[in-house]
Amino acid sequence: MPIRTIEVCASDDDWRSADGLLDDLRAAAPDGVPIAEFGDLRSTFAGRDDRVFLARTDGRAVGLLGARSGPNGEVVLVGPAVATSGRITGPERCLIDRAIDHAIELDARRVTLEVRDGDPLVSMLRREVGFVAADGSVAAVVRLVLPLTLVLTRSVPAGDGPAGTTTMWCGEGGEMAEQVPLVDYLVLGDEPHLVANECTACGARYFDRRNACASCFATEFRRVPVASEGEVRAFTIVAHAAPGIPTPFVAAVVDCEGTSVRANLIDVEPDDEHVSLGMKVRLATYPMGTDDDGVEAIAFGYAPTA
């Protein structure tokens, strides 16, 4: 097993390693994919409470993350910039954990990290660290806004648990509000809605990622909201399902202004007197339950509008 360490840049040797890594990354970065704004490391992170964290694998510098203290108890993270191929499970997580510990030691109220569109770091953050977007909607993290600012505040449970042992985070305001959507194409927030990956060439829409458009083979997609109102194009009332799935339920295909959506119909009696083809419905969300970490999962369905 390679030995990974995270340390705070302190000695000249540390700074040289960090500068060297940054130079390598800048040289290797393809056009249009800027390395986070580290500037000159030692002057960017010159403040008393600023830190540059350096990840080493078997002694070799493989990643760095800067933390700059701002006003109002904010800690701004810069990076992480990582050299190794382990982009998702690599040193980023360790670096961020360490920076968060640092922020906690400073009694910081907010930790802010800017992440660029399409950066796989975004999903890692959401999955592993529990960052939530500034507006409190977790799903908004996913490649919706460019560039995206994530704001993270550690909720301090009663008794002030030891730093870095919890991944429970919430939005500004400090309430325990973390919610996750059942699927990543459900966007929570004030107006929950679905989003699709739309082919920029032909407009075909997909709820999962595609390497190329199945319709026209183009490779550019944009994230678009899907209309929340629609009509039932097909349904079935499932009486027998796999063990563990509560029945009966109404499974349906809803035509949302030209985008077909697969979903359950909710808030309707599951019988053929109450469910009909062509029925007008609207997206609605409901809580599925809370996991061991206190995170609430939110599912969606379509409810009759009449």
Partner: protein, 400 residues
């Protein structure tokens, strides 16, 4: 245009429960019977295509060890419910390519007691943490929360979608389609179930996924089917009896689903079936009106309806009228699923795409006994596997 190819020998085992026979036994039984039916042996075969989904893979080689290892190429194929048709088509392609004169295609499944397919038989439960995973970043199982993955539910929606588009469907209509097939099965001694059921009985049976009740779902069972294919040139060297009983493969088509908007969320079983039928009619020069019987993929009663339309047995949008006219009954204008169909004959998945060809051949050879469609000269066999794959074969009686 390559020369014609012919079905020289064909067989299906009894469909049903075979607790004492494994998949290899069943495949061997069907294969040896198909070889005997064609008056040939494994020594003649130049290629073997073997279809099986639920086994551990490598059926073809296991089968050779039971019936004859001659070193010929083996293609183990897997294409959902179109697996049997894919095996058949693989052999047909090899012969059309001129690689050999004879080939054996076999499909087999051990499916008795398999239960609900599509949703997975394993209990679904949420983890202790909402951890996103998979292509949709789902934090928990989505089956049952975002629609249904079970086959009865998926195909129920296929039928309901047709009803939404064209109108005229009802629970009772779908039940009567099932009633027809269960009625047909009473004449098929190889069917898994041979009991007639009234529409009322069918509607009052166990509801699985509205409007499909249990008897409206394909019957999981064990079974195998096998066919020996021969080139036109070789057939001409065989006995007059072999030539007389040979059935011409006038069209052999396999399609997958082209992109359609809605197929991203609900399988579109229509577009690829229509495409396969169109190609098959073009290849064979046979039109829907020339058909004497059709075995189509009635995996659920709701599916049979849409395939009347997809196979162009009726005008577009006219499937309900077609059924109501009595045409698809065995005494109607264009009998459909006189074997009893998947709902009562049974659906040992990989066997189905050869078993339906066997049924058609049986009639074209005038060997179907009590359920013979008199004077049958041309038939069509259709299967569809979700994902999707569609196989259509048009078969013609040998010219006397």
């Amino acid at each position: 245009m390559a020369d014609d190819v012919w079905i020289l020998g064909i067989n299906m085992t009894k469909f049903g429960k075979h607790p004492d026979l494994d998949a290899v036994d069943l495949a061997a039984q069907a294969s040896m019977a198909a070889l005997a039916d064609g008056g040939v042996t494994m020594a003649d075969m130049g290629v073997l295509a073997a279809g099986n989904l639920m086994g551990g893979g490598g059926l073809g080689q296991q089968l050779q060890k039971q019936i004859g290892q001659t070193g010929i190429p083996v293609y183990n194929v897997s294409n959902a419910c179109a697996t049997g048709a894919t095996a058949l088509r693989t052999v047909i392609m090899a012969i059309k390519a001129g690689e050999c004169d004879y080939g054996l295609a076999v499909g087999v499944e051990k499916l008795a007691g398999a239960g609900l397919l599509g949703g997975g038989g394993k209990p679904k439960s949420d983890g202790t943490q909402w951890e996103p995973s998979g292509r949709f970043g789902a934090v928990a199982p989505t089956d049952g929360r975002i629609g249904t993955a079970t086959m009865p539910g998926v195909f129920a929606q296929v039928g309901m979608e047709y009803g939404h588009k064209y109108g005229g469907t009802s629970f009772e209509l779908f039940a009567r389609i099932s009633e027809k097939n269960h009625g047909h099965s009473t004449l098929n001694p190889l069917a898994a179930y041979t009991k007639a059921m009234s529409a009322e009985q069918i509607m009052n049976d166990l509801m699985i996924a509205y409007p499909n009740t249990r008897p409206m779902c394909s019957a999981n069972c064990d079974g195998a089917a096998a066919a020996v294919i021969v080139s036109d040139a070789k057939l001409k060297t065989l006995s007059t009896e072999q030539q007389r009983r040979a059935v011409k493969v006038s069209a052999s088509v396999l399609t997958s689903d082209p992109w359609t908007e809605s197929c991203q969320v609900l399988p579109d079983v229509n577009t690829l079936t229509r495409a396969a039928a169109t190609q098959a009619y073009e290849q064979s020069g046979v039109g829907p009106d020339d058909l004497d019987l059709v075995e189509l993929h009635d995996c659920f009663a709701t599916a049979e309806l849409v395939h009347y339309d997809n196979l162009m047995l009726c005008e577009e949008g006219g499937a309900v009228d077609f059924f109501e006219s009595g045409a698809p009954s065995r005494d109607g204008r264009l009998p459909v699923n006189v074997s009893g169909g998947l709902q009562s004959k049974g659906h040992p998945i990989s066997a189905t795409g050869i078993a339906n060809v066997w049924e058609v051949c049986h009639h074209l050879r005038d060997e179907a006994g009590d359920r013979q469609i008199e004077g049958a000269k041309v038939g069509l066999a259709h299967v569809i596997g979700l994902g999707s794959a569609c196989g259509v074969h048009v078969l013609e009686k040998a010219a006397a």
